[in-house]
């Protein structure tokens, strides 16, 4: 099992494998019918979703579609959810989901929402954790490669969306080699309504044309600040592999967002034309609406003195992580072996003493020696991301040397290191991006899987590894495949979400415009070439079932209401030849899917979810007649 362990650690671990092996199995075993202790929400990367796992078992509980069409439920195919994927570029049924983050109150996880960024066509989505469904998506203008995203402030005042690629702001047709000085990086602050969670793009800070890689909020004393790591401070526009690796130090940008918020609240900033979509799903109408917004408030950071500083950080830092107490900001130089840890207190002191080392585009640059608190001489290669436990320890992943290194905050000494299989990106401790990490488990999300599982052709799902971090030394407990390319993850105790979990939608609260309140209200209505079928599902039949009088060229809308009011009794609906997908309708919910019959005949539909002993009988027919036919619309109701 540990034969692939790297270098000096391999042997040591191997000795213990026998005895610990069985012990590890016990630690991840969750008996049938029992529940896991933690939820882990993994971004699905190029799958555009979020997958939910139980820890410690590693069982996959659910796949939540966010930025991708999802035939399993009809998300992005049903009429109600299509607006969720609307953007200023039109309907985009895909994105690259990267960094999930759970909402917080007083710096602790509150379990209301998860936010996640779409990297490709910049977007931020909100998932409601009472239903584990995506309920809001906002597009981010002036942004590209929405990577340093989506992390929340201590009371979920804001979710940020930092651009990875700087671009012309506003967009303009110009030579790319004139990048330097002309391209800009937008850092967006999206406010979250404390009551409803509704998102609103409150302001954008228009920064120099660096690449903004990752970010984390301050907390505790540093609450009110946000930190963004940068690369390509060279502002190169070609062969970045080389040309963006020339500066010995790039920056971590420290943003005093409270100061900018105050500036904006007092009428600061300027309104700029923009075009971006704001998509909101309403749980009572079971419908999403997409609104195009035409304006955004932008802030020039040099007009708010004292709001933005640049902290020199060696060598193309990637991760930018803040300790639970908010004091330390950890920068991991991708091309370095060391971690650079900045001190928030030192930073404030240097600002107070006005000790700067020049400026970039009018933004003060701090003295490296004034702000650095310490350096972790790790001995690993390619440090990326750091998370924390509740006992003052930090855990950093090393991509190149494939390992997790445990070290102590304050003394910077390395305590332990364990191999990963292989090439680890992010890691996650439940509550890791909060003041209160639950330091029992750590998962490492590895980019390369190779021989860890049975081969499945040239591609394997990425591997997730679970470590017990409750002791002085880390212990690898298990690994399991994940879905897509998981980047970051967010985790929380199951007890935080279980009591809030919705079991079904209440029929009396269903305000869908095409809902019917009871099966006897089922009907078929023709409006020109549009035919609306108001259909009910219940175990184990559709009402109506046999429909005649539909014609070739009609546009048929199936509005399906599931009249069950019981936990976990969805019904599906699928129509032969429909150019969409099936839909899965939850108890008390209404969903609509369309069908354009192209051939005459008698065509069946059926329930796709094995709902009862007579699920196979849950079916019906639609008779399709020629366009000029005069067959009257008719249908059968409950066997009559």
């Amino acid at each position: 099992m540990f034969m692939m362990g790297c270098g000096n650690n391999g042997n040591k671990t191997q000795e213990k494998a026998g005895a610990l092996g069985s012990n590890a199995a016990e630690k991840v075993y969750v008996a049938p019918g029992e529940h896991d202790e933690f939820y882990a929400f993994l971004s699905g990367g190029y799958s555009g979703n979020v997958t939910v796992y139980g820890l410690p078992s590693g069982r996959m509980l659910k796949e939540i579609p966010v930025f991708s069409q999802f035939p399993t439920s009809g998300y992005g195919y049903s009429e109600e959810t299509k607006p969720m994927l609307n953007t200023s570029h039109g309907f985009i049924p895909w994105d690259d989901s990267h960094h999930p983050d759970i909402s917080q109150t007083n710096g602790e996880l509150d379990g209301r929402f998860i936010f996640i960024n779409g990297n490709n066509t910049p977007r931020i989505a909100k998932i409601d954790l009472s239903v584990f469904e995506t309920t809001e998506i906002i597009e981010i203008p002036n942004s590209a490669g929405n990577h340093s995203s989506s992390f929340v402030t201590e009371n979920t005042e804001y979710v940020v969306a930092g651009t990875r690629f700087s671009v012309p702001v506003p967009q303009v047709d110009m030579p790319i080699n004139e990048y330097k000085g002309k391209f800009k990086g937008a850092l967006s602050f999206i406010s979250v309504d404390p009551e409803h969670g509704h998102m609103d793009l409150k302001f954008q800070i228009i920064m120099p044309g660096f690449n903004y890689d990752l970010s984390h909020p301050g907390r505790g004393n540093s609450h009110g600040w946000f930190f963004f790591s940068t690369y390509n401070t060279e502002e190169a526009s070609t062969l970045l592999e080389v040309n963006a690796s020339q500066n010995d130090k790039d920056f971590i940008a420290a943003i005093n967002w409270k100061k900018i918020e105050e500036y904006v609240n007092n009428g600061g900033g300027k309104k700029m034309p923009a075009n971006y979509a704001h998509n909101v799903y309403d749980e009572s109408t079971h419908n999403a609406t997409s609104t195009m917004k035409k304006e955004v408030l932008v802030v020039d950071p040099t007009e708010v003195p004292g709001a933005v500083y640049l902290l020199p950080t060696p060598k193309s830092p990637h991760g930018c992580d803040v300790s639970p107490d908010g004091e330390y900001i950890i920068g991991s130089g991708k091309l370095s072996a060391d971690l650079t840890v900045h001190s928030f207190t030192n930073m404030l002191k240097a600002i107070e003493d006005k000790k700067f080392d020049g400026e970039a585009y009018g933004i003060p640059i701090m003295n490296y020696d004034d702000v650095v608190a310490g350096v972790v001489k790790s001995g690993g290669l390619g440090p990326l991301h750091t998370e924390f436990d509740a006992k003052g320890n930090a855990y950093t992943t090393f991509f190149i040397s494939s390992e997790v290194v445990k070290w102590k905050l304050g003394t910077w000494e390395v305590i332990d290191r364990k191999p990963t299989y292989y090439s680890v990106g992010h890691l996650m401790v439940p509550g890791g991006n909060s003041r209160k990490p639950f330091g029992k488990y750590l998962i490492a999300m590895n980019k390369i899987t190779k021989d860890r599982y049975l081969p499945t052709g040239p591609e394997l799902e990425h591997s997730v590894q679970l470590y017990d971090i409750s002791g002085e030394k880390m212990e690898l407990l298990s690994d399991f495949p994940s879905h897509g390319e998981p980047h970051y993850a967010a985790g929380c105790p199951a007890d935080l979400l279980k009591p809030k979990s919705k079991k079904f939608y209440k029929m009396e609260e269903n305000k869908h415009p095409y809902a019917i309140k009871a099966p006897q209200d089922a009907k078929v209505v023709r409006e020109g070439s549009n035919v609306h079928i108001y259909m009910s599902t219940i175990r184990s039949h559709f009402t109506p079932d046999n429909i005649e009088g539909i014609k070739v060229g009609d546009n048929v809308y199936f509005h399906i209401t599931n009249h069950e009011q019981d936990f976990d009794v969805p019904h599906g609906f699928a129509m032969i030849g429909a150019n969409t997908s099936e839909i899965l309708v939850m108890p008390g919910q209404t969903k609509t899917i369309t069908w354009q019959p192209k051939q005459v005949g008698v065509w069946p539909f059926y329930c796709t979810d094995f709902c009862s002993a007579l699920h196979q009988e849950m079916q019906g027919y639609i008779r399709v007649s020629p366009q000029n036919s005069d067959i009257k619309l008719s249908w059968s109701l409950d066997g009559e």
Binding site: K506, I538, R539, Q565, D566, F567, S612, A613, L614
Partner: protein, 199 residues
């Protein structure tokens, strides 16, 4: 006031609990219902134990041809009146009447109670046996007769994949205890009458 008089009145007043709390409960357990389905029976209504339980019982029962549990039954009009009359009567007897009337009230209540239980049994029998001849699933007993799905009057019973439990609830316990008190009142009254005589 005399102790037996108080007991008689308290005993009959305890029947008032029936207006606030369920008389009986039927609960159905099955593996696919980790939270069992249940119905509380009051003197004037059926009520879900958890939201939509009755709807879900109906949905499930339609497979074997059982009718939907009615919104209301005629008994729901009669029972509250009977109980109200008995309470008023009991208090009146406690205040004004001779202890022998306690026993008459007790026996009357006992008869009414048994009649009520019998009526409930008939309703259950009908509910469990009056099946739709076009039922989706038909089950027969070992002797070939059509299987009924009558819940037990009292106690627990296996019905296909379900375990049905039928037990009294707080309202009924209040009534039983109240009746018990009126009987004690009768005994006390009788004892006191003897004492008075022997003096």
């Amino acid at each position: 006031m005399k102790k037996h008089k108080i007991l008689m009145m308290v005993g009959s007043l305890l029947l008032l609990l029936l207006f606030a709390f369920p008389l009986w409960n039927i609960t159905l357990e099955a593996p696919q219902y980790p939270t069992p389905l249940g119905m509380d029976i009051y003197i004037n209504k059926f009520e879900d134990m958890h939201p939509h339980d009755i709807k879900n019982i109906n949905l499930m029962n339609h497979y074997v041809g059982m009718k939907y549990i009615p919104e209301t039954i005629p008994e729901f009009k009669i029972f509250p009146v009977v109980i109200a009359v008995m309470v008023i009567l009991g208090v009146f007897i406690g205040l004004k009447a001779n202890y022998k009337w306690y026993l008459i009230w007790f026996i009357l209540m006992l008869v009414l109670g048994i009649a009520g239980m019998y009526d409930f049994y008939l309703w259950e029998y009908n509910y469990g046996h009056d099946l739709d001849p076009k039922a989706i699933m038909k089950f027969t007993n070992p002797d070939g007769s059509i299987m009924g799905f009558q819940p037990p009057l009292f106690g627990s019973k296996d019905i296909l994949n379900f375990k049905a439990h039928s037990y009294p609830r707080l309202g009924a316990y209040g009534m039983f205890f109240g009746m018990f008190l009126t009987f004690i009142a009768y005994l006390l009254g009788k004892k006191e009458a003897k004492k008075v005589k022997s003096n």
